[in-house]
Structures are given as C-alpha cells and as structure tokens.
Amino acid sequence: MTSLHRFQRSWAASTAAPLRFVGQGRAEIPSKDYEPSLLGSIVEARGVGGIDRLGAYRMQYWFRLLTLLQKDNPLLGHLLGWEAFNPLAARYLQENPPGRDPSRLSDGFPDWLQARGSRSTWIEAARVDHAWEEVFRAEEGSRPDAASLAEVAHGRAELVLQPSFRMLRLGRDWISLRFALLEGQEVTLGPPPVRPRHWALSRTGSTMRADPLEPGMADLLGEMARGRSWLDALEAVGERRPRLSRQVAGWFAAGQRSGIWAIKTAP
C-alpha cells in the first residue's frame, strides 16, 4: 500500500495547509498549495475541478476545527471578536494538530497562549472556558447523604471532590459573562476587581453553577485538589487557621449546596 500511503500524505499536507485570512472573518484557499500530482488525479465533473473539490475538504477541515475551538472558547471569542480569534486559533491548530479526540482540541490552548506571552486577560478567559468544558463533560460522582456520611465517620468511605468540580482564581467577573453568553445576552466585561477571588465551578445534571469561595474554603479545596484527603487537607489548613472547627461545618454545607463533594467508598 505504498502508493496509497503516498496519496494520503499528499492529501493530508494539502488539507492541513493553513487558510489565508483576508479580514472580516473571511478565509481563502490559496490554490498553489496543492501538489500537482494530487490535483491532477482528481476527476473534473459537472464543471467542478480539482481545486474546488480538494478545497471542499480543506474548508471543511478548518471550518470543523475552528468551530470546535469557538464553541469551547466563547469567553475568549467574545473578548477578541471572531475576526481576531480565528487566525489566532488557526495558528494554535497549525502548531497543535488535532489528535484522536476532537473534544480535547482546546486542552492545550490556555498554556499555548501563555507560552507565547499573550495578555493575561486572554489566558484567564481561555482557562475559564477550558474549566467550563471539563466540568460539563465530567461524570458526576456519588453525592453524600446521611448514610454515606456515617460511613465517612466510620472510615469506610471518604469525602472527595466531585470529578465535575473545578476551582478557579479569577481577576475578573468571567463567570457572570459566561452565564450571560449562555443566555444570549449582550454584555461587556467589567473592570478587574481589587483582589482576585476563588470560584467553585460545578454541575448537577446539565445545570452549571458557580459559587464564590471564602479564602479558607479555597485553601481546603486547593489542598484536596493537590491530592490530600479531606482529613489531611483540614489538618493542613488548620495549621494556618485558628478557630477552624467553627468554619468546617459551614464549608461542608457550602460544598453540599455547590455540588463539590462526592463519596468514594473505601476498597
């Protein structure tokens, strides 16, 4: 199958060659990009030749990938406008060709923006977008109830973080903006707050929610996100926070409301 492999190499190179963005969100296909042997192998029929036929595949390839990135990154797209977003996303895709799972296409986007020294607001927007997608597609773990909490008390189960939970530290109100975009509202991003704050992003069924976190609870969740158990995390936070016991009940209840906690049965 050497000839088939050669054909596919030529096709892949032609399809993944970048589009030329010509402003106002429009893209063109430079016809000189095609290998003459590939172009010559296409049958012209019904007045449509090889350039247009290969172009159909190429346009679909880029349209599909850019659409996926747009869907995954509504905040960044809103911030930049699609006219600026699309060439940026295309550069990312050229440097990070799609892998097997298209739903993971955006996974490296925030780090890529950071590595190329993009503005901090762009990076933060992309991180919120990415966290949102992760929360949305994660499975939900078992939620604690009275019986399972009794198991926790007896050491037969453990309180852990929901797979569908992410904590974010944000310098702007991206959360309100993201919910407003979901509702199709016309909104603008407000000025940065004086101090960045932590948010819990979680999901119940198909309903997303975001709750501001008080600093102590953010510390606790940060410890748990680093792999500490609930008890070890409490101990770690307690070393830094007097009168912890009064706060723990409140944090637990807040976590229940936000859908942060899950139960993991001990093996």
Partner: protein
C-alpha cells in the same frame, strides 16, 4: 464490566426490527428522546462520544438502552487507512457494545488519519481492487474483535480519482463481500455522490445485496454555489433522497431506517415528523402492491 441497562444479554446481540425507524440520538435530543421515545424504534449514537474521556456522560446511554436498542456508529475506524488499525479503540467499542447490548456497530468506508494527523473527516481514496482488498482485510479484523455484526457505511464524496478502476458500488461490494461483513447503507450518501460525480443512483441501488443491509441512513445535505453537494446533516431529507428511499424499499425492503441530524437541530417534533414520513412512504408502497414489488 456490568451492563448499563436491561439491553441484550452480555455477549449476545439482538437484530433490529426490519420495520423499525430510528433516530440518531444526539445530546440536543436527550430530554425528549429519553422521556417520550414514542414512534422511535431504535437509537443510534456516535460511539466515540462515549469512549474514554468522550464528551458525553455515559449515564445517558444507559437510559437510552433501557428504552430502545442503541446501535453504535463510528467515525474513526480508518478502514481505508495505511496506519495500523487502532485495536484498543476497537476493543473499547466492543466493550461498549457488550455493555449496552448494542445490536450492531458500523463505521465508514473511508480513511480518517495518517500517522499523528487526525482529519476528523471521512476521506475517499481511488476505487481499485488492491485498495478494496486492503480494506476488506482490515474489516475482517474488526469483525473478529466485535461481539456484534459490523456494518460498513458507503461514503459520500466530493472527489473522484483518475486512478479508479472500479465504480463506487463495485468497490463497496468487494470490501463487504471480501470481509464477510454487513452494509450500513446511506441513501443520502448515494445521492450526494451521484450528484457530485454524475453516476446513476439507481444502478448503485440495484447492486446492493439487501440481506446484508443492517439498516439504512437518511439525512439532509447542503448544496454549494458551484453545485457541489456536501453531506452536512444539517437539513431535512430532500425530496430526491426520499424518492431514492422509496426505490430502495421497493428493491430491498423491509429494512430498518435511521434518520440522522448533526447540525441545525430542529425541534424534536420535526424529527419525529420525518420518522412518520418514512413510515408513510413505505405504507403507500405496500398499499400499491402488498408484495412490495411495484415498478
């Protein structure tokens, strides 16, 4: 792994009702489809969405499988590819099929990837005996791993090649026969390719060995300004494809039928109307000739 629902017993499969009309179950329709499936005879889901860290929670699949048979449909098998088959992917599909009691699995007669590059598209090759035999060998290996019948779907394409030595339907038949597997026949794809390349879709239909057809797909497509038809699944089934479906039913019915929609999603009720339209077309054929053999 434990079954997700009360589907077919682990390790076995059930054959779809030949009169059934199903829909592609996409997340946009979970609420309606899983609460009031009504006339819907079976569902089909994109297998990749439920494998590994796929984007759709698996729990919905369990709910669907408890209501109706759920056929698995793939988009990344790469039968015409030159990279080695992704055996771990096929085993994952096999496990999922077993878990939900899927009646069958299908994927396309196309290539999708090369080395580390994934096109996320269904790409054509020239139609030659050598390439057909290569695909048949790969399809046989796929069927060897799956616990359910494997169907190959005919492709819609926008490019045909000077190097082809077979017609599309000769190529398709050679692969299916060579592998000893089944067909997942897409009527819209026949129409789209026929229009794009100028062949007679009736000749294609007449080449089909209908007892190998697991079910047929119906979908909509779009037409570019230059006349090229693109298989977008973003519109209702067009009259010409309904007419081809009628001819297919006369030639080879009954066979299960599935309506696909992957973009510009209409309200659930409109999708159900298309299901009813498929039933109506078939009923008219049977009224005209109870044997279903009218010209």
């Amino acid at each position: 792994m434990a079954p997700l629902s009360g589907g077919a017993p682990s390790g076995g499969f059930s054959i779809l009702d030949r009169e059934a009309v199903g829909v592609g179950l996409r997340p946009q329709y979970f609420r309606e489809a899983l609460s009031e499936p009504g006339e819907i005879g079976f569902f089909e889901v994109i297998a990749e969405n439920y494998l590994g860290t796929g984007p759709v929670p698996l729990s919905n699949l369990g709910k669907a499988a408890a209501l109706r048979p759920v056929a698995l449909h793939g988009v990344s098998l790469d039968l015409l590819g030159t990279d080695p088959l992704d055996l771990s992917h096929i085993r994952e599909v096999a496990e999922l099929a077993d878990r939900i009691g899927a009646p069958c699995f299908s994927d396309h007669l196309c290539w999708t990837r090369l080395e580390s590059w994934h096109s996320h598209d269904l790409l054509p090759t020239p139609f030659t005996e050598a390439i057909a035999d290569h695909a048949a060998e790969r399809a046989r290996a796929v069927q060897g791993i799956l616990p359910v019948p494997f169907g190959i779907e005919n492709l819609s394409s926008y490019a045909a090649f000077q190097d082809s030595t077979l017609t599309e339907w000769e190529f398709y038949k050679r692969v299916v026969d060579g592998a000893g597997v089944h067909r997942m026949l897409d009527i819209n794809n026949i129409y789209v390719s026929a229009q794009n390349h100028g062949f007679d879709p009736q000749a294609y239909l007449e080449s089909i060995d209908w007892d190998r057809v697991l079910y047929v797909h119906l979908a909509g497509h779009s037409v570019r300004a230059d006349g090229l038809r693109i298989d977008t699944h973003d519109a209702p089934v067009c009259p010409e494809v309904w007419d081809l479906y009628r001819k297919a039913w006369i030639l080879g019915g009954p066979f299960p039928t599935l309506l696909e929609r992957d973009d510009e999603f209409p309200p659930w009720e409109e999708l159900v109307e298309e299901v009813l339209r498929a039933r109506t077309i078939r009923a008219k054929i049977h009224q005209s000739s109870p044997t279903g053999t009218i010209a």
